[in-house]
């Protein structure tokens, strides 16, 4: 081996070899610089998405109220990512993987919402922002989120059409209006090309296809992706979630516009009455006099 090297270097003068080395380093430095430039340009083109995530009770939870029926009883309740938001998050992951988008998630809530946010990070969001206050009404939440959007310079904001706890359905709309952004509600399909978004909406008895410029706020729902597309956080994602940033920001001063007076559960179902198939008279009688349906 030694002999071989000696033989090869024998053909070239030392100066020549040194100059090759210089060129080589110059190349490396240049490549590094171009790489940096490319990354900067790329960064500029990267769509920045904020997915707004609401922390809601699992659909199988038992619903009870406390404090004279003015507060939801969270005792023993399992919390999850609001399903409409999860469809949005999954779509955002698609933009991340296919178009290199950066995906952040934001939630208004106290520290108890962090497991839900960690799940979003485990699924693949890059960063999470928790606005450190207990959410009250839709206006309040929208004001808090709008502040995050303003400060973060997001191109696309994906919220759920409604959260499945209080079903207010106001947050994305108010947020868009506060920010002066375009808004598509009940969105069931979304593509983005450059600065242009093509969105599909569900409307009564059909679908509507729209085009809108970014920045844009979406009120999303199932259809953005299907249930079978929803992701189970993988083990590596869970481990990485711990290392990703979960930034806590303080809320802005934004008084609630409403407050809850009382919750009522639907009346318990009464016993079922079976009416003989031949006895139509009895059925009409019951529907008219008892159920008062006809």
């Amino acid at each position: 081996m030694q002999a071989k090297i000696a033989k090869y270097t024998g053909y070239f003068s030392l100066d020549f070899l040194k100059s090759i080395k210089k060129i080589y380093y110059a190349c490396i430095i240049n490549l590094g610089f171009y790489g940096y430039l490319c990354r900067e340009i790329f960064k500029h083109n990267t769509m920045k998405i904020l997915v707004c995530i609401s922390n809601v009770p699992d659909t199988t939870s038992k619903i009870n109220f406390t404090e004279g029926d003015t507060k939801f009883d969270t005792n023993g309740v399992q919390f999850v990512i609001n399903p409409n938001d999860e469809f949005g998050l999954t779509r955002a992951m698609w933009f991340k993987e296919k178009q290199g988008a950066a995906v952040h998630v934001a939630t208004v809530g106290d520290a108890s919402v962090e497991p839900t946010m960690r799940k979003a990070l485990a699924i693949g969001a890059d960063e999470a922002i928790r606005i450190n206050t207990v959410p009250t009404d839709g206006f309040f939440v929208a004001r808090q989120l709008a502040e995050v959007v303003k400060n973060g310079g997001y191109d696309l904001v994906i919220a759920g059409r409604e959260s499945i706890d209080y079903n207010g359905g106001m947050v994305p709309g108010i947020m868009a209006s506060l920010l002066g952004m375009n808004f598509v509600n009940t969105c069931i399909g979304l593509e983005v090309e450059g600065n242009k978004a093509t969105a599909l909406r569900e409307i009564d008895g059909g679908k509507e296809k729209l085009e809108a410029n970014l920045p844009l706020v979406i009120g999303g729902q199932k259809g953005l992706v299907e249930e079978s597309d929803l992701r189970i956080p993988n083990m590596r994602g869970i481990m990485m979630a711990r290392k990703k940033a979960l930034n806590v920001v303080e809320p802005i001063d934004a008084p609630s516009q409403t407050n809850d007076q009382k919750f009522e559960k639907p009346a318990a179902k009464g016993p079922v009455k079976l009416v003989d198939a031949d006895n139509v008279g009895e059925l009409v009688n019951l529907l008219h006099n008892e159920a008062k349906a006809i």
Partner: protein, 603 residues
């Protein structure tokens, strides 16, 4: 983490029988980290979506679907939890490994078996005993699910007597490879695996040797037809024939003649993981039963309101709670022991091997206890469903059939019962657990005047903990005198050994249940733990009854005359309650709670 471990005393394997444990020193599922809770949710989601929702495919022997699910499990990282990071695994601790195993296993026994055979006995022999080259070459593929593994120990003539196999390995003349010849039977995953761990005998060696064999039909490997089985119907189980199969010498696992040791150590891990695999199944079956009992009406009454049904539900929930308590207690002991060994300078491989071996007694105990609990649980589950339970339409029938295998593989429960006591005695002879001192003390106590000290019964579990201490004396009295009487011949007295083993098992399970509940009552309050307290008391009561029966049986089998009388008196004294619990009330309390919650909500 290591400082935390260093400051608290960790019980050595088997020591629980002579030492008292502080409840703060046991790990419980309530101690899962946020990350572990997320893992649990993720595995549950996978299980619900891919396994539970497709029960029919498993029941109709869709082997391909089992394989497909294994691939998906690989993509989600579930196969690599226990694999060290150097070999592209996640390098998580033993508790996390158990947790994934528990929650992934409850949807179908078919998938559970495929998962266990691959991640346990299919992969562990290489991670525990492989050379660096072997590990680099094979483990990443197994961790990702690119390849699946199977474990070939059993033969038509060698089941429980695993070291008696006839498969041979003969070195080639040029010394480059071995030729393997023989027939293996009941090999899980055989139908879709790419790698076999094969045990074969070289020449007239006393012990078998382990080999890593790549599955290649061109290399003299053929498979039998799929076996048609009572349960785990979509788990591939076939015979594997080796006919002059060439295996490079570098594929020998560990050293020549070390195979039996490898086989047994792989099984230690397999056993505790099998116990974990039966836990969420119990929870699931119990939940189905509660839901059904709340819905089903007879005599214009939901059947959950009948005492006969309440009694069953309460016992099902209690045994499940006990199994979970004991499994995670042992799992954390193993994890800590591994960490200590690593801190002491052992390699990861060595530490893991010794860490699990240390708790081999507990592994056998858990395998037996939990495999029998899931059997009883699914049996009573069928009963609660009545005729519907007998129908293929409800999940009870397949749960019952799938549960049955757990008592047979990874060492039959008979073998594991004997092993539990046998290994404990061996530990005593090696000086790892001092049985002799405490046993002698019990002997002296029998002849002395009984102590009339009574604990302060107003303190939670004062009576129960006092009883546990006395139950340990029952074991020492029975096993100690028997060992003295029979010496090495004790092995021949299987009925006696089995009785002693039952006593040992019940003590471990009951103590673990009480310690977990005591720890939780201290941090969450007794009121919040009222049902768990009732379950701990009910479990102990059942344990005391059984220990009484087994103890009596054992004593009478080998002691006579005054000695017998004295020991029976001792048994009575050691199993006596100062205040008997009202078990009917306890069962009612437990059943009412789970009926109101419409589910088992304790872990």
């Amino acid at each position: 983490m290591s400082t935390e471990i260093a400051t608290k005393e960790i019980l050595r394997g088997g020591q629980f029988i002579v030492k008292e444990t502080d409840c703060e020193d046991v790990f419980t599922p309530e101690d899962f980290s946020e990350e572990q809770q997320m893992m649990r949710e993720s595995v549950k989601e996978f299980n619900d979506r891919e396994i539970v929702a497709h029960r029919n495919r498993f029941e109709s022997k869709d082997y391909g679907y089992t394989e497909e699910c294994m691939r998906k499990a690989g993509e989600l990282g579930f196969l690599s939890v226990a694999v060290p990071e150097e070999y592209e695994g996640l390098g998580m601790g033993f508790v996390s490994t158990m947790l994934v195993c528990e929650y992934i296993s409850s949807g179908s026994g078919s998938f559970s078996t495929a998962f266990g055979a691959h991640t346990g006995i299919g992969t562990m022999p290489i991670t525990l005993y492989g050379t660096e080259e072997q590990k680099k070459k094979y483990v990443p593929k197994l961790a990702s699910g690119e390849w699946f593994g199977a474990y070939c120990l059993t033969e038509p003539g060698a089941g429980s007597d695993a070291n008696s196999g006839k498969t041979t390995a003969t070195l080639s003349e040029d010394g480059t490879h071995y030729k393997i010849n023989g027939q293996k039977m009941w090999i899980s995953n055989a139908g879709f695996c790419k790698l076999f761990i094969v045990f074969a005998r070289i020449g007239d060696d006393k012990n078998i040797t382990g080999f890593i064999v790549e599955n290649d039909p061109e290399n003299g490997i053929t498979l039998g037809e799929e076996e048609h089985k009572l349960g785990i119907r979509a788990s591939s189980t076939r015979q594997v024939f080796f006919n002059d199969t060439k295996v490079p010498v570098e594929n020998m696992l560990s050293e020549r003649g070390n195979g039996f040791k490898i086989a047994m150590n792989a099984l230690n891990v397999g056993r505790i993981k099998l116990a974990a695999a039966c836990l969420d199944s119990q929870r699931r079956v119990t939940n189905y039963a509660i839901n059904y009992a709340n819905e089903r009406q007879q005599f214009k009454t939901p059947i959950v309101q009948f005492g006969a049904i309440k009694s069953k539900l309460a016992e099902m929930a209690t045994n499940c709670y006990a199994g979970v308590s004991a499994c995670y207690r042992a799992a954390k002991n193993i994890e800590d022991r591994i960490a200590i060994r690593i801190a002491d300078g052992n390699s990861h491989q060595e530490a893991e091997l010794k860490g699990v071996e240390e708790y081999a007694v507990e592994c056998s105990i858990l395998k037996v206890a939990v495999s029998e609990d899931i059997q009883n649980c699914s049996d009573e589950g069928i009963q609660i469903f009545g005729g519907m339970g007998f129908s293929e339409e409800t999940p009870m029938e397949s749960a019952w059939r799938d549960a049955r295998i757990a008592r047979i593989y990874e060492g039959t429960n008979e073998i594991n019962r004997m092993l539990a006591v046998g290994m404990l005695v061996k530990k005593a002879m090696k000086g790892h657990v001092d049985l002799l001192g405490p046993a002698t003390a019990v002997g002296e106590e029998l002849m002395g005047i009984p102590s009339f000290d009574t604990p302060d019964f107003s303190v939670l579990f004062a009576e129960e903990k006092d009883l546990i201490a006395r139950l340990k004396k029952v074991f020492l009295m029975v096993a100690g005198s028997a060992a003295q009487k029979f010496g090495a011949e004790l092995e021949q007295h299987q009925q006696l050994l089995t009785a002693a083993s039952d006593i040992l098992i019940e003590i471990y399970m009951a103590e673990s249940t009480i310690l977990r509940t005591e720890k939780n009552a201290k941090r969450f309050g007794e009121e919040a733990q009222a049902t768990q307290i009732a379950m701990a008391k009910l479990y102990l009561y059942n344990a005391v009854e059984l220990i009484n029966q087994k103890g009596r049986e054992g004593i009478i089998s080998f002691a006579a005359g005054d000695e017998q009388k004295m020991m029976l008196m001792g048994l009575k004294r050691f199993t006596k309650y100062a205040n008997y619990p009202n078990v009917v009330a306890l069962r009612t309390q437990i059943a009412d709670k789970i009926a109101a919650d419409n589910g088992y909500t304790f872990d």
